[in-house]
Symmetry: C2
Subunit: 203 residues, 2 copies
Amino acid sequence: MTQPPSVGAEALPAEPSKGAQTRAAILNRAVDLASAEGLEGLTIGRLAAELRMSKSGLFAHFGSKRELQLATVDAAAERFRVAVIEPAMSAPDGAPRLRAMGERYLSHLDLYSGGCFWGATSAEYDDRPGPVRDAIAAALDAWLGELERQAEIAGVENPKRFAFELYAVVMGANARYRLSRDRKVFDHARGALARLEAELPPG
Amino acid sequence: MTQPPSVGAEALPAEPSKGAQTRAAILNRAVDLASAEGLEGLTIGRLAAELRMSKSGLFAHFGSKRELQLATVDAAAERFRVAVIEPAMSAPDGAPRLRAMGERYLSHLDLYSGGCFWGATSAEYDDRPGPVRDAIAAALDAWLGELERQAEIAGVENPKRFAFELYAVVMGANARYRLSRDRKVFDHARGALARLEAELPPG
DNA sequence: GATTTGCACGAACGTTCGTGCTTTTATAGC
DNA sequence: GCTATAAAAGCACGAACGTTCGTGCAAATC
């Protein structure tokens, strides 16, 4: 399971400590749970029970529920980055990357049991001022900003509107699927993305 | 304040009893509160405090929190019907009514302090099976169904996709505005609706 | 081999939640 | 104006929440 200590070679991801491993496992589960129940509905007791550890032991990793929530938002952002942003970054700037972003988003939804983390939590916190809301807003702003940048590169006349529309279509697909459980909405979303793509100037 | 009892004239909204009035006032406030805090975050104690009545007195009107939640969903549906559906119904079938629906939705958001009730609660309940989820899903299905019907009348080649796109744009505008508080998203949404409208066949 | 540190545990705290009872107050018909 | 009934309040409960505390144990350090 664990590597023998390779003499001399000090890789930077150097054998995470037990605590760090536990923390990562907690946050991994926390992201899934919060996607389904929300960050407020995410309860320390239930999280601990699912991971078969004590409330207090889990609690000690974060010190407060707010810190747990903030760490969960960070973990979700990292997961999103790995599953959506980074793969799309290998596509060329502009139109291809926009296409990759949309498609990656739609396909990465299958990996969650509770739907898109951001769809669930942004609706939950849009009226609850504080650091949690700020963190969620910052993550979404970053994604919208990237979409807008790529739309600009692609030569769209109104990049902000284009970014909004792409966001609305994929997030709407998530929301609609969660409620109807009809996978046809993904076809509709892909159709909408294709229509959006057709708007891009040739180049 | 109260009208003198007009003799002989029995209007159908016949002087609601005290209890019915109180109940209506409770639900009116409950819709606003749930739009901001969610139907789970909606607490009987807080609702009672805001209406300056006792927890138990308010509670007696519904018998359980679940019944309060269901009644709140119904009240929200009624509010939506009055503010969006009915006014749009005065527009002719097809394209004009679709335009009215989108525009009415966007403008009716200003009436809420906590954003669109359905945007908040559908995300909250999409993973909580039960009658509350069913009621929310039914209300949204009804709206989507109406949009689809009008798109069909307007001669759209794929009414389901058209309805989804209209839904995604206006709901996305709500979600995006709640988080960014930038009213420009409504301009983007109206631009997207115009582009969608341009897709309609002439007639 | 002794000591310190990192992690996790169980028990208990105070608070808030929904809910059930009983009593008081307000309303509406004779 | 009295009375039956409906509406609201008062009070207490059990459960679940986040949080604190003291303790046990294992690995690491000296």
